[in-house]
């Protein structure tokens, strides 16, 4: 009897574990790949965050201030203006980002695609955003 109970309990635990595993597999997914960087512009110290979503192969580049800023204030507006979106692919150990609107490449030419480089096991993506004060150079790296 005890063995039966034990077997049932073990089965239940295994079943539950399997169910939980399936649920995670179904509802969760891989962690997004994140690139980070820092910069300064118009006396604003900024954090760059590039998030690559594995699920739908999209990315979002977001800039935040290192300091506390007024919500929807002028600096918030400026940082919002630096944000970018697009899609990406990962092939042959290279991330290739396709921006929804052109950015600048290393030669300051307009492009919509930027490829990553790799060094010391870290990926780096560098691009430029054209604006009122010329091209703002941005570089983000994986951890």
């Amino acid at each position: 009897m005890k063995k039966s109970v034990k077997a049932i309990l073990i089965s239940l635990v295994l079943t539950l574990s399997l169910a939980v595993g399936i649920m995670f597999a179904a509802c969760g997914g891989n962690d997004p790949v994140t690139f980070t960087g820092e910069g300064s512009f118009m006396n604003i110290d900024m954090n760059y965050n590039l998030t690559l979503e594995e699920e739908d192969k999209t990315f979002e580049f977001v800039v935040t201030s290192k300091n506390e800023i007024e919500e929807n204030g002028p600096i918030s507006q400026i940082l919002k203006g630096l944000g970018r979106t697009g899609t990406y692919k990962f092939e042959n150990d290279v991330y290739t980002l396709t921006f929804s609107k052109p950015v600048k490449d290393a030669n300051n030419e307009d492009t919509t695609t930027i490829a990553s480089t790799k060094a010391d096991g870290k990926y780096t993506i560098a691009f430029g955003i054209k604006g009122g004060e010329g091209t703002l150079k941005i570089s983000v790296t994986t951890k």
Partner: protein
């Protein structure tokens, strides 16, 4: 020591206050430096000419050698306009002319306070200047040969302040001297002695910021456009004297730009013999008036507006002035002011009358009433006293419609012979109207169709008695189109019979049309003055304008389409149902959530300027030699280039604009207030613009870079002539005079250094009560547009850019800042946009001013359909759009919203609060608009007389104007005094605390005493 301490304390406090005040004043004045510069007539830049540079730098030349000659010509021009624009409305028994001569000098009495203080112009931005040598009525009549009652004149002079007009709008008081007080000072016997004629001058003054009021004034029933009790008492007194034979004639001069209410003014009981409408007269208009009364000039003006018998017969009467959205307070997020709905958000007006403005209503309803056999609710004689186009002469004319020739190029040539059948020489106006078919297509598509519309006009030369002249008028078929907002959503020609109709005024034209149709109106018509032809339905020929597809842009301004709700629904005035659709009161609109949110959203750029990631333009890109603005105008040898080199679409502009930095761009775009900024890096001079369409009202020395100052003319301190209200100009029906008007103002602009004029006013005389009617031409868009186009061409030939205004629908002043104007698209296009279209498309008007009011829910400067799609698109305007006075209507953060919509510049300075700074990255579309705005400003500058005085060897340098230098010196002085006081205080404190000791030079003589 105590005294020293006290003095020290006072010193610190006083110098501290002085420093604080000085620094604050400096900050405020620098913040508003454009306004201060305007006030002091200073600039922040200087054109430096290279030594020995003798090249011709006058790209727009004056034909005058000096200001004296220029002013004399301007005054003569103003007089000519008044001579041909004054309209003789009534002349019982040929009361006029009142011929006078040295042998038989007529003695007259001038009545009303206006005999010493008439209206030369109006109030507000076009306020008449204090030229000092304006001709007053006394001078005007005396130079015409009359002897004027001196006692009466003296009576008014001695009581000037007592009887002077006061106030504006509902606070306006007409006042004037009552009959009893006049005859107490000037006995009737004296009036009888000067009784060849009693001339009574009625004046009403219009102006910016207030309309003429229906109620609240001392006009009868409180109405400003009726006689005051005092005025009436004088006219009644004169009627009595006339009945007893002591006054021979009573002449009424209507010194009013608006239409007065005729039932009140011209009642038989007042026994007035002659009425001359003279508008506001400008600097020399009373010379013209005197000459007309004396018969030295034969009047030839014809009304540019309908003169209503009673104003409530005008359908626009019921939807004018102040209306507040019901239910406003239910939306807590909408601002209030003193517990009431904020006027900027809560006010509206509905143009319920649609296209039926002025004669388009009165004559159409009259025609329909005759054709239908009667209209119980409409009697023409009780609606209209003097129709559009009406005007008497001292002679008689006959007009014959000789021919209408299809030129097979979309135009017709209409030949009319005018014969002077009377006994004196004179001029006549020829008016050509069109009747468009009004059939099933128009009815089912709700295309409103006035019975007649003006499509051509001309003024004859002076025709001698018995002589004749044949005039040829070109009529465009495009003026026969209607805008179909429902089905084709573009301009169409309805298929059917079109009739070209000649008439001495619009009402006789309708009677001629009725005669052609074998019907009889209130007077016999002449069917030979009508030519008929058939045109097919055409919905394709008028669908593209300046390369842009013409289709509906303004559905959102139509109440019925915007709200789509039974509670906010309007029945526009319709020919199908005159009685049922005639306004019975003001349209009531309710505030809705959609509207409330739309109104508020326009205050916040975050709501309307969306991040777009579009490509930014180049900034600060200089390849090779820098291109300066002068390099576009003049080649390397100093020769003026062909205009194609710097045409709006020329490739050179890209290179030129690439050079500008972001900071330079926003400096340019943040600096307005009747000027544009100087940019020394590309040698762009600052431009200075004049405010107001009726003449330059600042002294000629106003701009240091103007010809008057550069030439050192001895009359630089004098003020240019001021011109009659443009309604008078319109009433001339003479485009040669519109050209002269623009030409003389352009000349004045060259001498004063004005590169532009905040005018010409192209709003419509929708209601006689409009405050700024004196700045606008007419109730008719065709006449308005074409007179304006002629004026614009002449003005801009002198490098003075027109800023046509107020784009659009600023047809009333009440609640103008934020007023929601609602109307259907056919009406908007055919009546209110049309003058602007003509002025741009045919006159080449360079720039425009966006109106304070909203088009529906959207601020005019925030309306992309209006500015980008229509004005810069369909109409093809190449210059820029400036807001109306920025500080009154808007906040700095709204400017990017306006920029995104196609409004390029604030009429104000928002440099310190630079709203563009946050759009440096991520707003490429806005940045491209900013570049386009910069291009338009540069283009307008290079085409202006602001380039005068600059050669390829010149420099445009920034300079600190004298007031800024003075303030800086004052700040420094106050700072030094405060520092000295503070240092003294520190010394005393340290001494007091024993930390320092005084040096004893002589222990006996210079002993410092302790406390």
């Amino acid at each position: 020591m105590k005294t020293k301490k006290l003095l020290c304390k006072i010193g610190v406090v006083v110098t501290g206050i002085l420093l604080g005040v000085s620094v604050t004043v400096t900050a405020i004045m620098v913040e508003n430096k454009t306004a201060v510069n305007n006030f002091f007539n200073t600039t922040e830049y200087k054109i430096v000419t290279a030594e020995g540079d003798t090249s011709d730098k006058e790209y727009f030349k004056s034909r005058f050698d000096n200001i004296k000659d220029l002013r004399a010509a301007g005054k003569a021009a103003a007089q000519r306009v008044e001579e041909e624009g004054a309209v003789l409305l009534k002349n019982e028994n040929n009361a006029l002319p009142l011929t006078t001569s040295a042998a038989d000098k007529k003695k007259i009495s001038l009545f009303s306070i206006s005999s010493i203080d008439p209206a030369y112009g109006g109030k507000g931005s076009a306020q008449s200047g204090s030229a000092g040598d304006q001709v007053n009525p006394l001078q005007g009549f005396e130079q015409a040969g009359f002897e004027v009652n001196p006692d009466l004149y003296e009576f008014y002079v001695n009581n000037r302040s007592k009887y002077a007009r006061e106030g504006r709008g509902e606070n306006a008081l007409i006042k004037d001297a009552p009959w009893d007080e006049i005859i107490a000072a000037v006995p009737e016997s004296k009036i009888a002695e000067y009784g060849d004629a009693a001339v009574f001058i009625v004046t009403r003054v219009g102006g910016e910021g207030a309309d003429s009021a229906y109620t609240g004034t001392d006009g009868e029933d409180g109405n400003y456009l009726k006689l005051s009790a005092n005025e009436k008492s004088v006219l009644q007194g004169l009627a009595r004297m006339k009945q007893s034979g002591r006054v021979k004639k009573t002449v009424l001069l209507l010194n009013v730009a608006n239409q007065v209410e005729c039932k009140n003014f011209l009642s038989d009981a007042l026994d007035i013999d002659a009425v001359l409408w003279i508008g506001s007269v400008g600097i020399t208009g009373f010379n013209a008036v005197g000459d007309i009364i004396a018969g030295k000039v034969n009047p030839s003006g014809h009304l540019a507006d309908t003169f209503w018998y009673e104003h409530n017969e005008n359908p626009a009467y019921y939807n004018f002035g102040d209306n507040t959205y019901e239910n406003y307070s239910s939306f807590a997020f909408l601002p209030s002011l003193n517990g009431e709905p904020h006027a900027k958000y809560g006010k509206y007006v509905v143009y319920q009358e649609g296209v039926y403005v002025g004669y388009r209503y009165s004559e159409t309803r009259y025609y329909d009433s005759v054709v239908s056999g009667g209209d119980a609710n409409f009697k023409y004689a009780e609606a209209v006293s003097y129709p559009f186009g009406y005007g008497l002469s001292y002679t008689e004319f006959s007009q014959t419609l000789d021919s209408v020739t299809d030129n097979n190029d979309g135009t017709y040539t209409v030949a009319v012979t005018v014969t002077n059948t009377g006994s004196v020489a004179g001029k006549d106006a020829v008016q050509i109207y069109v009747q468009k078919p009004y059939g099933e297509l128009s009815k089912t598509r709700k295309i409103q169709t006035p019975v007649l519309e003006l499509v051509g006009y001309a003024k004859t030369k002076t025709i001698a008695a018995g002589g004749s002249e044949t005039v040829s008028i070109t009529v465009n078929r495009s003026d026969f189109t209607s805008y179909d907002a429902e089905v084709d959503k573009t301009y169409i020609l309805a298929g059917g019979d079109y009739r070209i109709v000649l008439g001495e005024n619009v009402h006789t034209a309708v009677n001629n049309l009725l005669a052609f149709e074998e019907k009889t109106g209130d007077a016999a018509g002449d069917k030979t003055k009508v030519k008929s032809f058939n045109l097919d339905y055409d919905n394709t020929s008028y669908t593209v304008s300046n390369g842009k597809t013409v289709t509906n842009l303004f559905d959102d301004a139509n109440v019925n389409k915007y709200f789509q709700s039974s509670e906010n629904k309007v029945e526009y005035l319709s020919r199908d149902n005159w009685a049922g659709s005639f306004p019975s009161g003001g349209v009531k609109l309710k505030m809705t959530e959609k509207l409330a949110k739309t109104l508020i959203a326009q205050d916040s750029p975050a709501e309307l300027v969306e991040k777009d990631d579009a490509e930014y333009p180049e900034y600060g890109k200089i390849k090779g030699k820098r291109i300066r603005l002068i390099d576009l105008l003049v080649d390397e040898n100093g020769n003026k280039r062909d205009e194609s080199y710097y045409a709006y679409d020329a490739g050179i502009w890209d290179k030129f604009l690439d050079q500008l930095t972001w900071d330079e761009t926003i400096e340019l775009l943040n600096t307005g207030l009747r000027c544009t900024a100087a940019l020394p890096s590309v040698m762009k001079p600052g431009t200075v613009e004049h405010n107001g369409p009726l003449g330059v009202t600042s002294a000629y020395r106003v701009n240091p870079n103007g010809l008057a100052t550069r030439k050192g003319d001895p009359d630089s301190n004098s003020i240019p002539p001021y011109y009659p209200s443009v309604g008078v100009l319109a009433a001339t029906f003479n485009e040669e005079l519109a050209t002269l008007f623009g030409d003389m103002m352009g000349e004045d602009a060259i001498w004063a250094g004005y590169g532009g004029l905040y005018g010409i006013g192209l709003n419509i005389h929708r209601s006689p009560y409009g405050g700024r009617l004196y700045e606008y031409y007419s109730e008719d868009p065709f006449l308005t547009g074409h007179m304006a186009a002629a004026e614009v061409v002449a003005l801009q030939n002198h490098g003075c850019n027109a800023y046509i205004k107020h784009f659009v629908l600023n047809d009333q002043e009440t609640n103008r800042a934020g007023l929601g104007v609602w109307l259907d698209e056919q009406t908007l296009r055919e009546i209110y946009l049309k003058p602007f279209y003509i002025a741009v498309n045919e006159g080449g008007a360079m720039n425009a001013m966006a109106a304070f009011n909203r088009l529906g829910a959207t601020h005019c400067p925030a309306n992309k359909a209006l500015l980008t799609d229509y004005l810069k698109g369909e109409a093809g305007m190449k210059g820029f759009v400036v807001t109306d006075m920025y500080a009154i209507g808007y906040s700095p953060q709204q400017m990017p919203i306006f920029m995104a919509a196609g409004c390029d510049l604030p009429d104000g300075e928002i440099q310190k609060l630079n709203p563009y700074q946050v759009y440096k990255y991520g707003y490429g579309e806005l940045a491209q608009n900013m570049r386009d705005a910069a291009k338009r400003i540069m283009y307008a500058t290079v085409k202006s007389n602001s380039m005068n005085g600059i050669s390829i060897h010149s420099q445009v340098n920034r300079v600190m104007p004298a007031w800024r230098i003075a303030l800086t010196v004052l700040d420094c002085l106050c700072g030094v005094l405060f520092a000295a006081s503070a240092a003294w205080a520190v010394v005393l404190i340290l001494y007091d605390k024993g930390m320092i000791k005084a040096k004893r030079v002589d222990s006996n003589k210079n002993q410092i005493k302790g406390d």
